[in-house]
Symmetry: C2
């Protein structure tokens, strides 16, 4: 029997690559996405396309209320998404405790499924401003998970897998391309339109564009205008 | 200015006591409850009564989807709530990753509020079957939180306060009674009716009854029949 894994799937380039890596390692993949009051729903539609294309066994979308707390340009419509290039420090697109909350849900589902492996597409290289994308955070979460849960206490530990954590965007794209990911299905843009077309100017679009260029892979992203 | 704290408030006896303790320590209290597909909503109504009675500054209810994962008698209507007394081991009323998920939300809200203190009513004595009620879990969560968040990285750490962790139910009741908690407002029963009346026979009712008896405090709980 294949081992089950829970994959956090956003509909973006990174998590699509993670799903392809988990499938390539032989896991039976259960994908989890979140509706957290995003400005657009294009990324959830993308997550569904990606899950199907890469042979996930199941794709669930959990509705979470983090938008209600505010504090991020991604969920608070009173803060503008920056379009003038990547700045230093922690970006205003940071969502409070987002990865912590998402990994906690993944942990709950993994426990019910009997899965010990949770895959997440965090990356410490291109997005170093997010504290919850660093290796120290991932290992602290894993440690906490193994004290939090019935199955772990009974001797079946969880493993938080972050296979992209040390890769550049170009290396991620090269890896996924080798594993057959169709990046035309993914949406990374912070303000994509309803058809999933990207703005081309937000931080996420800039990093993605530069990644394709550096990887020497043709950028299949549909851009607005 | 008073320091702000986020208090996880369930509407039960333990978290009402925690709110009274936090107020008594001088905190400006922001209470957070969860609608997670409970079998009954009496406990959310109780949480609201308790927040008002004890002078909380705000009470929010976040809707979370953990019921969708199943695996617990509290959220899965296919598993019966046990009524034959407290058994050994981890009870079937265990909800996968519940405290992890709830603390993660509290962390997100605390970050937005500028609060460094998060209070939770976990207790390792009477409910020792729950792995996420032990001191080791609380301290692993705190460690993870201080690696996860922008404010902690910038030098303002979070503290997960679990003031009941080593208390017996009788000691909790004695503490709350001294601080003026009206336990008649709280609902602990796993299967309370719509008016908040308790069954008297589930594990939670049995522990609560025994606690009042041991504390020598009159039990104000409205029971069915």
């Amino acid at each position: 029997m294949q081992k089950k894994a829970v994959i956090l799937l956003s509909g973006g380039l990174d998590s699509a690559t993670v799903l392809a890596i988990a499938r390539n390692q032989g896991f039976d993949c259960y994908c989890l996405s979140f509706d957290y009051g995003q400005r657009h729903s294009a990324e959830l539609a993308a997550a569904d396309r990606v899950a199907k294309a890469l042979g996930a066994s199941e794709h669930r979308i959990a509705r979470i209320d983090i938008g209600a707390f505010g504090g991020s340009a991604l969920t608070d419509t009173h803060i503008d998404v920056p379009v003038d290039g990547v700045e230093g420090g922690i970006p205003v697109t940071y969502v409070p405790a987002r990865n912590t909350i998402m990994l906690s849900y993944a942990l709950g589902w993994a426990e019910v499924l009997g899965a010990q492996d949770i895959f997440v597409g965090v990356n410490a290289v291109d997005y170093s401003g997010y504290p919850d994308c660093r290796p120290a955070f991932i290992s602290a979460f894993e440690n906490m998970a193994n004290l939090a849960t019935k199955v772990a206490v009974e001797g079946k530990p969880f493993f938080i897998r972050a296979p992209l954590i040390d890769l550049t965007k170009a290396q991620i794209i090269a890896t996924g391309s080798r594993l057959g990911v169709d990046y035309g299905l993914t949406v990374s843009c912070y303000q994509a339109d309803h058809q999933g077309r990207a703005c081309g100017v937000c931080d996420s679009c800039r990093l993605r564009k530069a990644g394709f260029a550096a990887a020497g892979v043709t950028d299949p992203t549909p851009y607005i205008g």
